[in-house]
């Protein structure tokens, strides 16, 4: 089935275009094309190679100005998905609707999508100015207007004065900005970023990702961003799509993904997580009491659990508290022995041996860390654990 959307001039959604002039060819259209529906709508996108399925029924809706992160381990299909949206890979089936217009049959060079590649893919034989101007020249933008737009965009990414440089003379961070400017100057309907920060060192990466987010919000441009780095996704995305083996594991805001992971895979992939096998002991009023291997009880929300079920319990290391043995108090807890301690500056990460199950426990660093071999008790708030069947 093929979805054709009739373009309906909806009520103006008051999109502020920061860039002064959109292209002549599209300026009339872009006013008409402001609509209420999602800016990007992907339905059942699938890519099948001979035997394997790279992407399986990927569906996503993103509003205008939304920053979506595709997150997952390598080989999870996130890059293939991005390349299908760009048109660089032909989907086996599925539909992509961009600003109300189906683009399945639109050749890549007319999709009006800006893309930043992992290795930046700058044109090595062109100057910074000519790199950025490339897309505008392909759109036959008048010379004086072109110059203005390129210079304005270079100013926006902080590269003013470097117009005549060769790209080989730029640092990694500067090259990445040229790539961003080149993708944005054409006023794309959609910005695609393929692991744009993976080639930068840690310090620079944090700065650049902040800059990308600021720029994205200022221009209010719908963005899909591929990364395998959970910190990147958590810190800049509005919406995170966690992928695994070509399928979507969970879609949600960073908060939802982190606090209510839909599966043990998501729990484990996003942030550190303790996963412990347990058995449901009793269920009462939608609350299940689960018995950990050590015999301790943990209370979890569990409407669909039945006594006797085997479950996996998950808890974040920072949700566990450490104290001297015996200091159980009102909340639930277990006792264990310190196996190892990693001092991480502000926090210290302990591995606690609880009946030969290792629990990771991140606490605020104190002047003297706990000695290895010391007996401690671990406590947690009721409801801090989450159960997965």
């Amino acid at each position: 089935m093929r979805l054709f959307r009739v373009s309906m001039p909806g009520p103006s959604d008051s999109t502020v275009r920061l860039l002064p002039n959109s292209d002549h060819s599209e300026s009339a259209a872009s006013v008409q094309e402001t609509r209420t529906g999602p800016a990007l709508e992907i339905t059942d996108l699938t890519k099948r190679y001979d035997q394997s399925v790279a992407v399986d029924s990927f569906s996503l809706k993103a509003g205008r100005g939304e920053l979506v992160a595709l997150l997952g381990p390598s080989g999870c299909g996130k890059t293939t998905t991005l390349r299908m949206i760009a048109g660089l890979v032909e989907p086996t089936s599925g539909h992509i609707i961009l600003e109300g217009r189906p683009v399945d049959r639109v050749p890549i060079h007319r999709r009006n999508i800006g893309m930043v590649f992992q290795q930046y893919a700058l044109f090595p034989f062109l100057s910074v100015f000519d790199n950025v101007a490339y897309g505008l020249r392909e759109r036959r933008v008048r010379k004086d207007e072109l110059r203005g737009r390129v210079l304005k965009m270079l100013e926006l990414v902080g590269l003013s004065g470097l117009e005549q440089r060769r790209t080989a003379q730029l640092s990694g961070g500067q090259q990445q900005r040229v790539a961003l400017a080149r993708a944005l100057v054409i006023n794309p309907a959609l910005l695609l970023l393929d692991e744009p920060l993976s080639n930068l060192d840690t310090k620079l990466r944090e700065r650049v990702r902040g800059e990308i987010r600021d720029l994205q919000r200022r221009l209010n441009i719908t963005t899909v961003f591929v990364t395998h780095d959970q910190d990147e996704a958590l810190s800049i995305a509005h919406t995170i799509v966690v992928m695994r083996g070509g399928r979507i594991e969970q879609i949600g805001s960073p908060l939802e993904i982190y606090q209510r992971p839909a599966s043990t895979f998501v729990a484990d992939f996003i942030g550190a997580c303790n996963l412990v096998p347990a058995r449901v002991a009793a269920v009462e009023d939608g609350v299940a009491k689960c018995q950990l291997v050590s015999g301790a009880l943990a209370t979890v929300p569990g409407d669909n659990l039945r006594p006797g079920d085997g479950v996996t319990l998950a808890i974040r290391p920072e949700k566990l508290r450490l104290g001297p043995r015996g200091e159980g108090g009102a909340s639930e807890g277990v006792s264990g022995v310190v196996r190892s301690a990693s001092y991480l500056g502000a926090r210290t990460s302990y591995e606690i041996d609880v009946a030969s199950v290792i629990l990771r426990c991140d606490v605020q660093s104190e002047s003297t860390p706990l000695r290895i071999g010391k007996a401690v008790s671990i406590t947690w708030e009721q409801g801090a654990w989450q159960a997965f069947q």
Partner: protein, 286 residues
């Protein structure tokens, strides 16, 4: 640099792995060229003269041979470029199975003797060969493809295609496919993308391949001798005739050195371009 501080004799000593090659080059290239140079400057009676060169250049027939040789060199280069690029692209960017098959197919002509290959072309292109028979059977007129520059060019292009394909494939391997993808997402349809993005990055490979093909094409002997014959004489066949049949060693030597000079000119030009390219991109004033 460290090497600057090392005394010259010691530096030569450190280059000992190059000595055998240097000796070989001296004994079998420099010395023969000196001999030929000596022979080219003497007439049959052993008197020092520049007549061999003068008469060679003055003779309109010889000038036609030079022109034909250059023309064959240029058209062979152009033909291998046009045929070689799609092949190189398929080998570098194509599916794995096609890569292996095409590489083997491209390299195969190098494994057969040039005499056998040339006879093969004769069978195909001769006036009563397979191609003309086929044309005749569908009512088309015959075309003359042997004993002229066309046949020689076609046959040479087949032999020299591997050199071009390998040079282009090598250059193509160094081009990140994402650069072409970037051009596409920025709005370039395939053909314009080729001319605006791929071609500029291919220049070193094109030059390297063209240099090889051109240099080998203008000095080729067996293929022009068999397919071109006496009616499409080139420098190499003329030198052979002068030296062995006419016995005019002086004229043959002069022609050899002119051919060598032509090749050297192309090589020099190549290095000029390559040097200015790399110079340009590494240190351009801001």
């Amino acid at each position: 640099m460290a090497s600057v501080s090392i005394a010259r004799p010691r530096r030569l000593l450190l280059m000992w792995p190059l000595w055998p090659q240097a000796l070989l080059l001296f004994a079998f290239f420099v010395v023969p060229v000196l001999f030929i140079g000596f022979a080219s400057l003497h007439d049959k009676t052993g008197v020092l003269t520049a007549r061999n060169y003068l008469s060679f250049v003055m003779d309109p027939y010889n000038r036609a041979v030079i022109a034909r040789t250059l023309l064959i060199g240029i058209s062979t280069t152009a033909l291998t470029l046009v045929l070689g690029y799609p092949l190189a692209r398929a080998i570098v960017r194509g599916p794995r199975a096609a890569r292996w098959f095409l590489s083997a197919a491209v390299l195969f002509p190098l494994l057969t003797s040039s005499i056998i290959r040339s006879f093969g072309w004769l069978v195909l292109l001769a006036n009563n060969g397979l191609l003309n028979d086929a044309l005749h059977s569908v009512g088309l007129p015959k075309v003359h493809l042997i004993f002229n520059s066309i046949g020689v060019t076609v046959a040479l292009a087949q032999v020299l295609l591997p050199f071009m394909v390998l040079s282009l494939a090598n250059a193509l391997t160094n081009i990140d496919p994402a650069i072409e993808d970037a051009a596409t997402t920025l709005g370039s349809p395939p053909l314009r993308r080729f001319f605006k993005v791929t071609l500029p990055m291919l220049v070193p490979g094109i030059l390297a391949g063209s240099l090889l093909v051109f240099a080998i094409a203008i000095s080729a002997f067996v293929t022009p001798a068999l397919i071109g014959g006496p009616r499409a004489e080139v420098m190499a066949t003329m030198i052979y005739t002068d030296a062995t049949q006419v016995g005019n060693i002086g004229a043959a030597s002069a022609a050899s050195l002119i051919l060598l000079a032509m090749t050297l000119m192309v090589v020099t030009l190549y290095y000029r371009v390559i040097f200015s390219e790399s110079h340009d991109s590494s240190a351009r004033p801001v």
